[in-house]
C-alpha cells in the first residue's frame, strides 16, 4: 500500500540544473509545483576544499563518477561497454554540485547541423528562441565574463567581471594573438562581483568539489532558495521509481521516501529533469500495458542517440613555474577558431578549445586529463617537470546522434533499492576521432607558440562523460523523436522532459547554459496550458 500525497499541478523529477530553473520559473508563475530529488542538500561545511585531504576526496568520496563515489543516494551505472564514463551527481543542485562551471551557449549553427552540414538532425527550435532565456539564466547563475566576443552572437553585459587568466592561460592567449586566432575569456557561472548572500571567488581552484564560499554557482544556491521562497516544494531523498500513466497521459509518480516507503504523487503534469541517463532510465522503467517498451517510447527513441562530447587533451609543459594549480581549473579562456565547418579539413563540424589549468600534486600524479605519471625510478623526475608547470587545452568535439549509442536497463546491476541500473553502450565515431586528431595538431601549435618545451596529448579522455545528451530528443516528427519543440512528449501531452536528453545534436560546447534556457522556456510553455490558466489568473 503506497502513501498518497495531495495532488499538485506539476511534479518535477530531479533538482539539478534543469529542474531547479524550471521549478523556479513555474513557482513564479504561481503554479503549485513540487520537485522530488533523490539526493539531499550539500552543506558548505562538508565541502572537501576546506580540508588538506581535498584531492583524496576528489579521487574517492567526491569523485564525479557514481561508480567510484558510491554515495548512498547514487545509482550505479553499467558502463562496461562505454568508451566514455558517464559522470553525474545526485543531490539538490544535481551535477552542478560537481562541475567546473564553464558556461558557454550553443551557437546558432548548432541548431541546424543537418541543413548546414548534412549530418545529424535539425532542432525544431533555434538560438533566437532561447536568446531571452539565456539572459535570464545568466543573471540567475551570476555569470562572469565579458560581452563582445566575435565568436558568438551578441549578448548582454555579463553580470560579473571575468576571472583571472593565470600565468598559463596568459601565455596561451598571447600565443593565440601571435597566430591571429580567436580566443575570449570564458563565460563562467562563478560569482566575481558582489552578492548579499555569497562571497566572491578567491581563486582557490577545485571548483568541482563545491564552493564553501558560494562563489561557484550551483542551483542549490542560485535557483532553489528563490524557488522555495516563491512557493515551490522540494522533497529530498525521494527516489522516483516510476512515472504512473494511463493511455496518453502521465498521472503522477511513484517514489521511495528516505525510509523506503512507497509514495504516490499525483499531478496534472509530470516533468522529467533527471539528465540524459537518469531520465531515459526512468522512462524505460515506466513501461506499462499501454506502453510496454517504456513511457513516451512509441518511436523507440528513448535511450537512443546518447551523446557526450568526446574530448582530447593537449598539455604543454613549461620550464617556468606557472603555479597552474591556482585558479578555477576549467575556466579561463576558450578558442572557437575551429568551431565552424571547414570542408578542407576532411570532416564537418568543429571543436572548442578550452584552456585548463594544471592540477594539485595528487591530480598531477594520477593524471586523467593527461597521462598518469610513470611509477618507479623516473617518478620524481617526471613529477617535478609537470607539477605546476603545465597548461592544457581541450579538443571538445561535437557528438552526433547514433541510435546504437544508447541507455538501456541493465540486466545484471541494480541500485540499493533493487531497481535496474542504466546500462550504457557507447562508442566514439570516426568523425570525432578525426576532429580530435586535427585539434591535437592545432593545440600543439598554440602551446609551442606559448613556450612549452614538451607536449603531451590524450586522444580521448575516458573520464570526460560530464555531458549526457540526446536520449529523449526533441523533434517535430513523433516517429523519430520523443518530445516536441516545447519539450512535451509526443505520446503523453502532460509529460515534459527538460534536461539534456532532449538535445537532438550536441554542439561542441558545455551544455548546461542551453539546458537551463530550454527548461525556462518549457516552464513558460507549461504555465500557459489550459488547466493552469485559472491558477495563473488567480
Amino acid at each position: 500500500m503506497s502513501q498518497h500525497c495531495d495532488r499538485v499541478d506539476v511534479v518535477v523529477v530531479g533538482a539539478g540544473a534543469a529542474g531547479a530553473a524550471l521549478t523556479w520559473r513555474l513557482a513564479n508563475h504561481g503554479v503549485n509545483v513540487v520537485c522530488l530529488e533523490q539526493g539531499g542538500w550539500v552543506t558548505p561545511e562538508s565541502i572537501p576544499s576546506l580540508t588538506p585531504q581535498w584531492e583524496r576526496a576528489r579521487a574517492r568520496s567526491h569523485h564525479p563518477n557514481p561508480n567510484i563515489r558510491k554515495n548512498a543516494w547514487d545509482y550505479p551505472i553499467d558502463d562496461a561497454d562505454s568508451a566514455i564514463r558517464p559522470l553525474m551527481y545526485n543531490a539538490v543542485g544535481g551535477s552542478t554540485i560537481a562541475w567546473g562551471a564553464h558556461f558557454p551557449r550553443l551557437r546558432p549553427c548548432d541548431f541546424a547541423v543537418h541543413s548546414l552540414d548534412g549530418v545529424g538532425v535539425d532542432w525544431p527550435i533555434g538560438y533566437d528562441d532561447l536568446a531571452a532565456y539565456f539572459e535570464v539564466n545568466d543573471a540567475m547563475m551570476t555569470v562572469a565574463g565579458l560581452a563582445g566576443d566575435p565568436g558568438n552572437p551578441p549578448r548582454g553585459p555579463r553580470p560579473c567581471p571575468p576571472l583571472p587568466l593565470g600565468a598559463g592561460a596568459q601565455r596561451i592567449a598571447e600565443a593565440y594573438n601571435r597566430l591571429g586566432w580567436h580566443w575570449w575569456p570564458v563565460d563562467a557561472a562563478i560569482l566575481t562581483g558582489t552578492d548579499p548572500h555569497r562571497s566572491p571567488c578567491n581563486n582557490c581552484g577545485p571548483c568541482d568539489l563545491g564552493c564553501p564560499r558560494g562563489a561557484r554557482s550551483s542551483t542549490d544556491i542560485t535557483y532553489w532558495h528563490q524557488a522555495i521562497a516563491a512557493g515551490a516544494q522540494l522533497r529530498t531523498q525521494s527516489r522516483v521509481v516510476k512515472i504512473a500513466s494511463v493511455p496518453g497521459r502521465a498521472t503522477g509518480v511513484d517514489y521511495l521516501d528516505a525510509d523506503g516507503n512507497l509514495c504516490h504523487q499525483p499531478a496534472d503534469h509530470v516533468v522529467m529533469a533527471g539528465n540524459g541517463v537518469g531520465t531515459a532510465r526512468l522512462l524505460l522503467l515506466s513501461a506499462d500495458d499501454w506502453c510496454p517498451d517504456g513511457l513516451a517510447n512509441s518511436s523507440d527513441q528513448v535511450g537512443r542517440n546518447l551523446m557526450h562530447h568526446p574530448t582530447g587533451m593537449v598539455t604543454g609543459v613549461f620550464h617556468e613555474d606557472l603555479q597552474g594549480y591556482e585558479g578555477p581549473f576549467a575556466t579561463s579562456i576558450v578558442s572557437q577558431e575551429f568551431y565552424e565547418t571547414d570542408s578542407s579539413r576532411g570532416f564537418v563540424r568543429g571543436f572548442q578549445a578550452q584552456t585548463i589549468r594544471s592540477d594539485g600534486p595528487l591530480g598531477t600524479a594520477l593524471g586523467g586529463y593527461l597521462p598518469r605519471l610513470p611509477w618507479g625510478r623516473d617518478h620524481h623526475t617526471q613529477f617535478d617537470r609537470q607539477f605546476g608547470h603545465t597548461a592544457s587545452i581541450t579538443v571538445t568535439t561535437e557528438d552526433l546522434p547514433n541510435p546504437d549509442n544508447r541507455v538501456t536497463l541493465s540486466p545484471d546491476i541494480t541500485d540499493a533499492w533493487g531497481v535496474a541500473a542504466p546500462k550504457i553502450n557507447y562508442r566514439v565515431e570516426q568523425r570525432c576521432a578525426d576532429t580530435i586528431a586535427f585539434g591535437i595538431e592545432r593545440n600543439t601549435e598554440v602551446l609551442l607558440a606559448a613556450g612549452a618545451h614538451e607536449i603531451l596529448s590524450l586522444p580521448l579522455v575516458e573520464s570526460a562523460g560530464f555531458h549526457l545528451l540526446g536520449t529523449a530528443r526533441m523533434g517535430e516528427n513523433a516517429a523519430s523523436s520523443v518530445v516536441d519543440g516545447q519539450c512535451r512528449a509526443h505520446d503523453a501531452q502532460n509529460l515534459w522532459i527538460v534536461d539534456g536528453s532532449v538535445f537532438p545534436t550536441s554542439g561542441a560546447v558545455n551544455p548546461t547554459s542551453t539546458i537551463q534556457a530550454i527548461a525556462l522556456r518549457a516552464a513558460d510553455c507549461l504555465a500557459e496550458q489550459p488547466m493552469l490558466i485559472g491558477v495563473l489568473d488567480a
Binding site: 566575435p150 613555474d321 625510478r377
Partner: protein, 140 residues
Amino acid sequence: MREEHLVAVLNAVIPARGSIAAAGDLGLSHEVLHDARDGSAIDQILAVLHELPADFDSLSPDDQQPMLLEIETRQPEHFATLVNMVYTAYYSHGAVLAALSGRTGYNPGAPQPTGYVMEPFDESLLAPVKQMPPLWRQVN
C-alpha cells in the same frame, strides 16, 4: 598470499626522495590495503602480489622494477589500480606535502578559506580579437 611483499612493491612504485622515505617505508601499505578492501579492489591488489616470487623483497631495485613491469604488462588494469592507490596514499601524506611545499611554495593545506590572489583581467590582451569579424554562422 603475498601481502608481506606489499611494502617492497610500494617502495618500488615510489622510491625515496631526499628526507622522504619511499612509499612502503612511509607505512602506506596498511592504508593501501584498507582502501582496497573498502573499495572492493582487494582482489586486484592480491592478484598482482600473487605473481611475485617469494624472494622479491631481497632483490635489488634494478631487479624488482623489470619484474613489476612484466606484471603490469600481463595485468594492466589490476596494476593500474595498485598504482592509483599508492599515489593516492603518498600524495595525501602530510610529510610528502610538507616537503613539496618546501621545494615549490605550494600550499599543502586546504584551498579554502585562503584561496589565491585574484588578479584583474587585462582586457588590453583582447585588442586584436576585437578587430575580428563575426566568426559564427548566421542561421535563418
